[in-house]
Symmetry: C2
Subunit: 308 residues, 2 copies
């Protein structure tokens, strides 16, 4: 399906909500288990078909995700909606299986320094560790989503070579990931860089299995989404109210806001399946539990108009 | 000139700075004449080739622009840089001539209600008033730039018909405006709407004489710029630090920030002629005089990194 009068732009886009995991994990506020569950209740009402719930990682490393299992158990799982859980290792996968999780996600990087500083091993070593995890998950009937971080730049190594991203994507694809989400972790990438990235990576993995995960730190995310869309990417990761900041530039923006993207696509005639008013209700709730205004332009404009 | 490996995107873009006029006019802070002059000194250093200085309008209506004549007299006028002044009527043009101004700008609208509420006359009447103004300005050897507001939406009438914008643009073109800047005054337009707008208007006026003036109220401005760029528009209006708000959504964003645009274009390999570090110095000064952080993502990210 394409937008009727703009033949080069897909007419249907799927968004995968990151606010409840990537978002809350990087917010300074401590959010209660009940509030996390309520947030997902709001998100369930919007029409989103992918909501990342949490992470099975050692609470020593990420204390904010210590209640992910309980959150997963208690949320309503709707038919047709995926609720992925991040599983960085086999222990994480075991926990996922115990909780009856249907989809897990693994997290690779396209930058050596980032991999070393984040998980203490090289990119190749991290991919080797994912091999048995993916195998076991697939054998158990789970879907596996792959992430690659630092696809356009790294806080330590600077710009990323698209060929390196293509190489990591090919490995994750070979392991059976049904989709690979390309993450501009520090948000430095621009639209023409995005175009070049998608072209390079889609030589290795069909564009239908690629997703875009853009951070808005430098205000480029929405323009990058449109650039990727013109190259045929139709799945994007976003976070309600722009939840989550940028750990590499304190006070700066992280995940692109779901409402900025939904507004842009829907008003251009591209279907996201998401109800804007219900999404704004989720934005309001998300803002309440982290105790600040949404960072999204749309969230602020709609709330300002409402207040006026 | 085109970007070498991306043949459909122009490689050279001109930005016209709005911060010193449109921006400061809509900021709550009162900025002194000296500070306005200093801001333009900073902007002169960046490499910008167009800086809107002020407005010759009755101080009864726009008290913040009462010192525009003095500002114009005292700033350094560099060779190759235009310093347009807004002249809404013949009295404004007289003042411009007295001050030796070389370029003036006139302001039409594509929405009847907006025109009525803003200047108490219909769109057609306002264009009729500009006829003698443009004639006199051109006879005196001045360049005239035309603006059209509400090109994608109006706070009173909702969405704007691109055909109406094309009609107004054709009139301004016929009056001798060397360039017509299409203003998304309330910032509601999205990338595919932008594409359709540019296609409709460029049937009436050659795309080389069109400029894009996008407000970032709904976070669409940069994506719209990229969309217009792909249609051949190479001139965009921007405001340092995102100066100016949105009078129709208090607390929301107005003009797209110059630094967000320069970052995006330059890092994609598109030449703006603007020095990023000098631009950031102007951002810092602009933020100081209005007493708040820049609303731009790039301004915040760069300042956050610097502070870290």
């Amino acid at each position: 399906m394409i937008v009727s009068d703009e033949e080069d732009i897909p007419g249907l886009v799927r968004l995968v909500e990151m606010g409840s995991r990537d978002g809350l994990q990087n917010e300074p506020a401590d959010v209660s288990t009940d509030d996390k569950i309520t947030l997902i209740r709001f998100l369930n009402e919007t029409g989103l078909t992918g909501i990342e719930v949490g992470s099975f990682v050692s609470p020593k490393w990420v204390p904010k995700m210590a209640d992910s299992g309980e959150v997963y158990d208690r949320i309503e799982k709707r038919v047709g909606v995926s609720y992925p859980m991040l599983t960085p290792n086999l222990r994480g996968l075991e926990a996922a299986l115990e909780h009856g999780v249907r989809e897990v996600a693994v997290f690779g990087a396209a930058s050596e320094s980032f991999s070393q500083k984040n998980i203490n091993c090289s990119v190749a070593e991290s991919l080797d560790r994912f091999e048995p995890l993916c195998k076991q998950a697939l054998e158990a009937g789970l879907a596996v989503r792959g992430y690659i971080s630092c696809v356009m730049g790294c806080p330590y190594d600077g710009p990323t070579d698209p060929a390196k991203v293509a190489e990591v994507a090919a490995r994750l694809d070979a392991m059976g990931c049904y989709e690979i989400s390309l993450g501009d972790t520090i948000g430095t990438g621009t639209p023409l860089e995005t175009k070049r990235l998608i072209r390079a990576v889609s030589d290795a993995v069909p564009v239908e299995r690629l997703a875009g995960h853009f951070h808005d730190t430098y205000g480029q995310a929405l323009a990058n989404i449109w650039s990727a869309l013109a190259e045929g990417v139709t799945v994007f990761d976003t976070a309600v109210a722009g939840l989550g900041g940028c750990p590499y530039a304190k006070g700066a923006t992280g995940n692109v806001a779901t409402e900025d993207v939904v507004y842009s696509l829907e008003q251009s005639g591209i279907d996201t399946g998401i109800d804007f008013d219900r999404l704004m209700a989720a934005v309001d709730f998300a803002s309440d539990i982290v105790g600040r205004e949404p960072v999204s332009r749309v969230g602020r404009a709609v709330r300002a108009k409402r207040g006026a």
